[in-house]
Symmetry: D2
Subunit: 367 residues, 4 copies
């Protein structure tokens, strides 16, 4: 392995380590399987699936044949034996697994939205149609966007934690806006025009993701009503609070395009002042200078989803409109990696003191 | 043919009619061939091509075999015999053909940008890198967006005209914004986030449109620097002037997505007041009630490129953001039809007093 | 309309004509709607749908908005009023509608497989898992591949007929092989390697046609077990019988590729002799010289699905392997048009003595 | 890293190892960069490019930004310092680099066709239009299909070798046919109907690979005239010779489909006897039981390109036609990995006594 990127030595992890995945046969779950199987610190995987309990993961995903082989167990069996548990279940069905993990004193990394809103049950129940089942758990959970909360995760990692892995859109959007919030000149509203690949819709067949209906077409969906809006708004408010700048208002419009993976976010940030591209670029480069997975592109390049494919990178390109007073930021992530499974593993790496890049060093594939 | 849409009887056109196409072997040119060949008022096509002079159009486009058959002539030969001339040449090479047509007293419908800026040579030369060759011609040309200038075209059709067929992006963007400009409450800037299919890049192979580099990826391009920005700005200024409202400022970002045809424009229009969706929708429906090719979708539907494919329609859906003060308008056109060849034929229909829908009645194909 | 293809004058059809479509909301049904709506001899469409009875066709297919507008009725209502009935139902559910049409003395054109095997109930029930419900009807039905049975259809059109519209694969395969069967030198087996677009799978969402699972992948399916095998075999046997040559054996393998429309059939025909490409080509050209929808491509061109898109053409290219003893024929059709709705309309045109091209003159679209 | 596949301990390799890549900026070259960069036994990469000498690889492939960073040198500089040299140059331009490597006593792994025909200059010059420049080199080169020549490579690895890395199509085709050749009942001709993804066409833009012309279409190309035919024929003859069975005749037809990566080969093997699927399957399973990269799929599964994506696997499914006398074998590879760069690295692993899977353990990605 060629190493022209410095790797910090990871903290030592002493025991043979078992990772458990609940909901292993959905797309995010299968991506966790794929990535964790190669993770240098994971010695064993335990998988569960409600839909396919009793079968084997390679029966559901024949691409795994001869490589990954594992029976699909009950969630309880996984939780009982794992040293860390990832949940890739749908929203609003798995809260009690978080409780079970804490009871067993193991970290629970939840890819659903269930713990993303901390103790703000009002927002959660409004957008996800369900009250909290275990309200007290939500006081202990941490929103696992490392670029926002790495220190908090580290600081609390000694006790068993619930990590709420961020939504795919909020990841791409928040990372594109955070540096701008360091300046008080951001005006409202910030417009986030995002385009997602179709894997974001998951494994279950439906009209919207039926090839003949979505290939060769682009369209927005859930205009002004997508559940990731409040998550983005909350993230920006947290960052603004930290920076001492005003919390911005957000307009978020997701689109569907016929690509397998990727989210491209084109973000329009109105500024009270006239910005110089070079200075904005410097601000962004500086803000992310220590982040292992954020690449602020050199001026002249524009973020594209095929440059981050299969990787945990978030690419960011910075532009200023002709009028000089609107910052246009473009971010690209792989929705399955930085937008889901990869970020979950990044959170695990932080929790356990591993090299944050461990298991996440896939070089982006252009095609 | 089933007729549940009323067709107005067309004005009579008395002579066997020959249409000429200059630049017939580019994508827009070939689309003109395909559509004009079936046009009920066109009796003969004459085609020219610099690149393939002496060959036949069906050699270049074997999809035409057995249907369309025509030699590729010199532009001069076409102009000498045609009753109307379409030019689908690149920008900045065909001005003199317009002059030649006027001299022969035939209408010249130009799909390039050369005549889109009327006598504003400053803007044209800034964005297209070339001064006007025949400045006086630009005083007579009319910008052929029928929804803006239908009456002007009709009123002047008795003398030979140069019609500047609009750009693809400006068509989709302008039609989405025009009704909003009837109200004085539009604030600035309007943000136009547009996504185009790859046919918009034309027939010439290049890295950007090489399958392996653009399939399965989305990316913006020419951020804050696309030549359609000034055309959109000008269109909006004209409509605002007509409506007595302030000319809006525009931020326009084009994106490339892996679809063959189509432009989706997601347009963010800040309003000074709180808007009600139903009222905005009524405004849009009313504004376009007599337009044969604009479909304001019922509330609840969202514009998508696959619903206008192959047709001359511009679909528009109207949404209001949660905050109530930003109007989100989504428009979809087929970039090759309403965005190019179809609109050019619509202009011809207006010029000659034909039914405006003549030759343009293809039902959109979902796939 | 430019006419460089001679059109034979159609026989006169005297009354305002109503076409009925049963199963109008599946993909083949909707394609019938799209094409029949513009058919010059059809004055009215009546549509039925079991799934969406009571709704309107434009609610299910918003691409039809503002163009095609029709309520979705009961099948019985359609049959009671139509002058010709098309059925685009699934296999094995609509036989009785054929009976009802004959009773009402109107032609019934069935796009399902139900009547494709004449009175060979054994083959039908083996492959479609169901005996004939009305065995006597199958003695009157005609297999509607015009290039095989045009005369038979014409000769019997005075009485109400059931036309069994061919399967998509059998159309592309049979047309590629028919001319070769005129020579006694064809040996067995003929291998048909076919690739279909995903619209062939219909409108119902399923894992196989879920975007993420089928985009960016090719795979065969139902190897050695597809229900179109016996239909192809039967067609070839009929043509061989007519030509006085041996009935060939067939191996047929369908594949799925990520394209919307189209079937490409690459056919390997072993010959007992050494063939010359030019002579084979002449044979094919001559065999199809009067066919309005078969284009035998000039030597040097190879059939491709994007050259027949949206059209009723079957393109055929002829090649001979290096060894000189295997003929390689490539055919391309649009599975929704010549492979389904277009061919059904072609059959209607023959039945009613219309110009066979009526309503089917769409020029193929390269993209 | 989870290990449920046994890894044999690799032989020790004692010095810091430098791999050189000539032609590093073509698609196969860039894939070598991507894979070798993560290879556990490679400590440094040296890259050269004629087209981009003096630039850096991450300038040409911005997906490498922040990960792979290397200047593009002259080929001579690379050869002068590398411990093993990969050449991903076009055909017929790099023979002398092989000579230079042998002189420097380092292995040369050539991804072009230049050394694939051993000393059969007649076949090479007929198909590649050029005589051998260094005929004596071709007596020492070994055709690097490990499943055919692993032992030969191992046995000769002590002296510097030229390894001719197989063509993409010949890899997928040969692996599908080899086991069948163990039986004397194979008759001729074997038909190979192959479908490739568009990356196979390389990085240079051209009409054939222009998105608008190849997306949403399938077509064969170079029917009966593709340069991989003689390579396949030769491979089968070698295997037949070894098995003591007759050398088969081959008909090979490549097709282009709109997928990024992958080659699917559907192979029709006529048998003199009636075959039982289970027995054929056992034969295939047994034949490949020790191969690390060939997966003979369980009966009931069919090979698909998306199940091997990004991996070095060749998936094989075995089917028997209804008539029982034609074996249908389907193979799927990733054309960039097992069909090019991956296989080249597999060859390096064999040459140096590394674990054959080293650097090639990417789990296939469904999408």
């Amino acid at each position: 392995m060629v190493t022209n990127v410095d790797h910090k030595p990871p903290k030592v992890h002493n025991y043979p380590m078992i990772a458990g995945i609940i909901g292993a046969t959905g797309y995010a779950g299968a991506e966790l399987v794929r990535l964790l199987f190669k993770h240098p610190k994971i010695d064993k995987l335990l998988l569960s699936s409600v839909s396919f309990e009793g079968e084997r993961v390679e029966d559901i995903y024949p691409n795994f044949l001869g490589v990954v082989s594992a029976p699909l167990l009950k969630a309880e069996e996984v939780i009982a034996a794992a040293d860390v548990v990832f949940s890739a279940l749908p929203h609003a069905v798995g809260e009690h697994f978080g409780a079970a993990c804490l009871e067993r004193k193991v970290h629970y990394i939840d890819l659903s939205a269930d713990f993303r809103f901390d103790d703000d049950e009002e927002v959660y129940s409004k957008w996800y149609g369900k009250p909290y089942q275990f309200p007290q758990l939500h006081k202990k959970s941490i929103y696992g966007l490392p670029e926002l909360n790495r220190q908090k995760i580290k600081d609390n990692a000694k006790e068993p934690l619930i990590i709420a892995n961020p939504g795919c859109y909020p990841t791409g959007a928040s990372l594109g806006i955070f540096p701008a919030l360091q300046s008080p000149s951001v005006e409202k509203p910030i417009i986030i025009n995002a385009i997602t690949g179709i894997s974001g819709g998951g494994r279950e067949p439906s009209r919207s993701f039926h090839y003949s209906e979505c290939a060769d077409s682009v369209t927005p969906y859930k205009v002004a009503s997508h559940r990731h809006s409040p998550e983005i708004t909350r993230n920006l408010a947290m960052m603004a609070l930290r920076a001492g700048t005003p919390a911005p208002q957000v307009i978020f419009t997701p689109h569907l395009a016929p690509i397998n993976r990727g989210i491209l976010s084109t973000i329009y940030i109105p500024l009270g002042t006239t910005a110089k591209t070079v200075e904005i670029h410097e601000l962004y480069v500086d803000f992310y200078k220590d982040e292992p997975f954020v690449r602020v592109l050199p001026l002249g390049l524009t973020a594209a989803t095929n440059r981050v494919r299969m990787s945990n990178f978030c690419d960011i390109s910075v532009h200023v409109d002709l009028n000089g007073s609107t910052l246009i930021v473009v971010t690209a992530i792989d929705n399955m990696v930085k937008g889901a499974a990869g970020q979950a593993i990044q959170n695990m790496n932080i929790l356990f003191g591993f090299d944050e890049r461990a298991g996440l060093e896939t070089i982006p594939m252009l095609f």
